[in-house]
């Protein structure tokens, strides 16, 4: 399985990430793009999202999470993740999987996103007109990740 991960300090183009992502013999490519929202869960305006990261452990976590997709029958994985200041509407994360058949590619991307939401080494802060707020994983995030534990045990 080929793994490509990248920590992006500047905005990236998800369409270009998808176009340049290829795997020989793949019959399916599935991708997901996460965008920075312009409102908090409570409905307050967000002016920017700030993603603090660790100089080594963050990239290591992206690689470890990507490698966990080996449990699926996929040929290649790409993860691109922003760090630093992200404006509303900009892409935060891009995940793609290539496989011979669609089911493995769908499942790999779904599972990787759930893992990224809880295990990626980032600290996120929402900056808005009414102040700033550091974000922690929600119970929903943890439950999303847990649903893969029975299906695909480590």
């Amino acid at each position: 399985m080929r793994i490509e991960t990248r920590l992006a300090e500047n905005p990236f183009r998800p369409d270009q990430e998808l176009t340049s992502f290829a795997a020989d013999g793949a019959g399916a490519v599935v991708s997901f793009t996460g965008l920075a929202r312009d409102e908090t869960e409570a409905g307050a305006k967000v002016e920017r999202l700030f993603l603090d990261h660790h100089p080594r452990l963050t990239e290591q976590s992206l690689n470890d999470i990507a490698a966990s997709a080996a449990r699926f029958d996929v040929a290649a994985i790409r993860i691109v993740h922003r760090c630093g200041a992200v404006a509303p509407g900009e892409a935060i994360v891009f995940v793609a999987a290539a496989a011979r058949h669609r089911r493995a590619a769908f499942e790999a991307v779904d599972c990787l996103m759930d893992a990224l939401k809880t295990d990626a080494v980032f600290w996120k802060r929402e900056d808005g007109v009414d102040g700033t707020r550091w974000i922690e994983p929600t119970e929903t995030d943890r439950a999303d990740k847990a649903r893969w534990s029975d299906h695909c045990p480590d």
């Binding site: 996460g34 660790h54 980032f122 600290w123 802060r125 550091w134 922690e136 994983p137």
Partner: protein
């Protein structure tokens, strides 16, 4: 001397990085925590040279210590 780095909310409260003098015999993670506010071992993970370290781990000269608050995830 050891470098202590903080992330997320802790970096705002304490600063990104501080250098501290260590006693000749070193200093445990538990003792290091007591020098700063907000480093509850129940929620803040300690790493020494990029590996998770327990409360009894002895930090010595030249080590790099990271205190990591709960992750936000990606």
């Amino acid at each position: 001397m050891a470098k202590i780095a903080f992330y997320g909310k802790l970096a705002e409260l304490i600063g990104r990085e501080v250098e501290i003098d260590l006693p000749a015999q070193g200093c445990t993670i538990a003792a290091l925590r007591s020098r700063f506010d907000g480093l509850d071992p129940a929620t803040v993970c300690a790493c020494v040279n990029d590996a998770t370290a327990g409360e009894d781990h002895v930090v010595t000269q030249g080590d790099r210590v990271d205190f990591l608050p709960p992750l936000s995830g990606g």
